[in-house]
Symmetry: C2
Amino acid sequence: MSERLAPGATVGILGGGQLGRMLAMAAAKLGLRARVFAPEADSPAFQVSEKPVCAPFEDIAALRRFAEQCGVITYEFENVPAHSLAVIEELRPVFPPRRALVSAQDRLAERRLLQACRLPHADFEFVAEAAALEPAFTALRGRGHATAYLKKLRHGYDGKGQLRLEGSQDIAAAQDWLGREAAILEAAVPFLFESSVIAARARDGDIVCYEPARNTHTHGILSESRVPSGLPERLIADAFAMTRAIMERLDYVGVIGVEMFAIGGDKPDSLVINEIAPRVHNSGHWTLEACTVSQFENHIRAVAGWPLGSAERHADARMVNLIGEEADAWADILAQAPHRSLHLYGKAETRPGRKMGHYCDLTPLNRAPSAES
Amino acid sequence: MSERLAPGATVGILGGGQLGRMLAMAAAKLGLRARVFAPEADSPAFQVSEKPVCAPFEDIAALRRFAEQCGVITYEFENVPAHSLAVIEELRPVFPPRRALVSAQDRLAERRLLQACRLPHADFEFVAEAAALEPAFTALRGRGHATAYLKKLRHGYDGKGQLRLEGSQDIAAAQDWLGREAAILEAAVPFLFESSVIAARARDGDIVCYEPARNTHTHGILSESRVPSGLPERLIADAFAMTRAIMERLDYVGVIGVEMFAIGGDKPDSLVINEIAPRVHNSGHWTLEACTVSQFENHIRAVAGWPLGSAERHADARMVNLIGEEADAWADILAQAPHRSLHLYGKAETRPGRKMGHYCDLTPLNRAPSAES
């Protein structure tokens, strides 16, 4: 176990999007220096950090120089090439550990991890090649699943890399779409809503879990996260236990996001894990306002070897993503609600489906007498 | 009235200390870019902003180039030379307005402002030169004040630039200390405690006031600020009204800090204004954790022409400054209290009396069920 960082030491962040940006600001709050390595010249995280490095993740020489100037390295997204992380690991500690990244990069490895932890997940079949799709679909139907999702093993996020199959008439098109890639064919889970647990694990094994959020997606992209989620206490405890099991099996350090489906009749009666993100997570942005120590700060504390802060919340919260042109309404969004907290990510170009910012509305659990004059 | 800034526009900040640093981060949260102009090469605010300019405030050419690259200019401390601000004003809007800076830079101008607003302040005499000290002291004694503070007109902060006079035996030494400077001789106010109001005024005149804090000083430096302050509702209303009067008279834009003495017998029964700071204020750091919109964010919103956010608080708070070597105990400070929020300012060199960081302890007004697992 490496030494904890002292104030003034540098946290290296791979990836320069909004997650890297908020991580860099969390590091600065704690008196740590943040340096960002990202391929895009206009990376939002470059604006809030020193001496950014703009280079592709495949530029091993640049990665090495970057790593040598950092005390510890972390990453903001799971599509950093694992071999790039392996190079850095030789020089500096990397958290979360590479095995977590590898599990999250490959849907089959992710399912194997859940199986090893004996955690509930959707029924699935491995599809090594297009020809294996038809027998896989038949097998799932034989086990009572009428509908399935074909998910490519790699690089899926925001609903990309997956295709819905309603019946055998969809197989030929799905085979074309899959091409030469491998995939899993996963039974569709008839869920009531999606929930996610954001949790942090310190280098010494200490774990804190933020209360699960209830997530809503639009066109496959997260549009809203709310706490409380509506999950009963028993399922919240289950969600925490499942998250702990995953973190402990991976000897995890940092923040993790675990997406789950709440299933049942009128009310949720159990949980099924959907996906694991080895990083800070969009559905945890509400922790910036509703908790004293946010997911970003707890991630930095964990990777720096510092003690974690409390994950308790002091307010009900509703986080709303601003996708594409939705962010153009920032002035109205602010003017409508004085308690609203707005985050814009400093992205110069607005594109459809691009996350441009978010806002968070709080309902304090109990308000102080008004201090408005 | 100039146009409001759009996201992506640049806020120029004069001064690169911890206040500039926290302002730069507040700007980034809102999708604005922050640029910092400061004389010191290792300015903490340089670490969290882009393309810093390191030059003295007297370098007019550098100031002009800087201003031309910003949409609006603000400052983190009141000792920016007023003539430097005048140069910038020709090129870009500057907030808070220069007249506020000028009033705060000169203790006589500050007293004149309070007189013009008919606001209570300590009895005083102007001391144009050392020879005028004895008659001034005699005059104050004649009005019943046994003890007085001699305060140089300019550049006083953290208890610097002032000297206590207990009796006529102190006059000769005070004259030596004063040299050729002008000063005011101010009656010592026997106060119960110091309080301060942090408030923000938008370009459209909208004002929000944060609840007054109760401040404790050690060796003339703020050591602690707490809310609630213990001021009764009536005096809180007085404090807000006085702060509003000052801001309106100055046609103020941005955040102001107004320090007041609470006076009375067992309990405070009135307020006397001590000092005005035309900027975000150390005694308002608790707003980062205890309010959804902090003093830093409301300052940026105001100078950018954006709507203000609520100043309501959702928790009781105690902010403690970490002065000099006190910050070396950061690990214990964090480990003692998981609800504690720590800020370290990224200052490489620890010096006695130097503000290295602060922490804030919150007592939420009502906690949610524990989410610790």
